[in-house]
């Protein structure tokens, strides 16, 4: 069986991802349509939340990716810092705009849901605040990559920033448990079946979560390919200028 480190070779990564990407994108598209159509058209209103419960199919999966996207960037950054594989640094760079977009979706849908349910668009609640800080870290991470010209230096600096920001990624997930205060409720899904939302909401939510994970993977592969090509182009142009 091939070692995972073989994919640190950009050529091998491009070949393999070219084969996987169409399948992943198709699966993501189908799962997204099935999950959202199921959730929007074929689930009942909640007895307390009314039809706003349908927002859960966007809010929970986007928040899942916002947090875990940063954790994926953390793993990729650690691989860069320890093993100096360029593909891992570029994968982290590729994931950041996706994570930032998912954070915006989670914040927007949360605010739109919160207005009728909590009576406010925003509260400085531990979970909401740590999520906002996570979004600012995403922006800082993207800006730092863009601001530093040398790729290796940019990868080093952004990796350190990613390590620091991971605190807020973890806080975004566990703030409710740590402080046990604020407006935001606990997890919508739990390993304990008794704590879960009702099955009629749970099943389409699972499909939507799977769809967002597949979409994230497909976009990370596509954007990592682009970053690898951009890096190769910069190297070729630099060589051309030297000769």
């Amino acid at each position: 069986m091939a070692s995972i480190w073989e994919y640190a070779n950009p050529r091998k990564f491009l070949e393999t991802s070219d084969r996987v990407l169409p399948w992943l994108a198709a699966l993501a598209g189908v799962a997204l349509v099935v999950g959202l159509v199921w959730g929007f058209f074929f689930t009942p209103d909640d007895y307390r939340q009314g039809s706003t419960v349908k927002i859960i199919y966007l809010h929970v999966p986007s928040a899942l990716i916002a947090i875990n996207g940063w954790l994926m960037m953390l793993v990729a950054s650690l691989i860069w810092l320890i093993r100096r594989h360029h593909v891992s640094a570029l994968a982290a760079r590729a994931a950041a705009p996706i994570g930032a977009t998912m954070t915006v979706i989670a914040l927007l849908t949360g605010a739109i849901w919160g207005q009728p349910m909590w009576g406010t668009w925003w509260a400085w609640d531990p979970r909401l605040t740590s999520f906002l800080i996570l979004f600012l870290f995403y922006l800082g991470y993207i800006a730092l990559w863009a601001a530093v010209e040398d790729d290796d230096t940019a990868a080093d600096l952004t990796s350190i920033l990613c390590l620091v920001g991971s605190v807020f990624a973890v806080l975004s997930r566990y703030a409710v448990n740590f402080w046990n205060q604020g407006l935001h409720q606990g997890a919508s899904l739990s390993m304990d079946k008794a704590d879960n939302v009702a099955n009629v909401f749970y099943l389409p939510l699972l499909v939507c979560m799977a769809a967002f994970v597949l979409l994230f993977l497909a976009l990370v592969l596509l954007r990592t390919q682009t970053e690898i090509r951009a890096r190769r182009m910069r190297a070729l142009l630099a060589r051309e200028r030297m000769s």
Partner: protein, 51 residues
Amino acid sequence: MPELGKYAGAVLSSYGLSLLLLALLTGLSLWRARRMKAALRKVEERVKRHG
């Protein structure tokens, strides 16, 4: 169309904004991927021609 009642605005704006952002993210990623692939091919051909 399901009956969304008094929360129709909240639900529809959530779906509209989210799908717009997802479409923008996917569209921009595809556009940049195609543009970069073409640009790299051009540079590689030029480098090959000039040794």
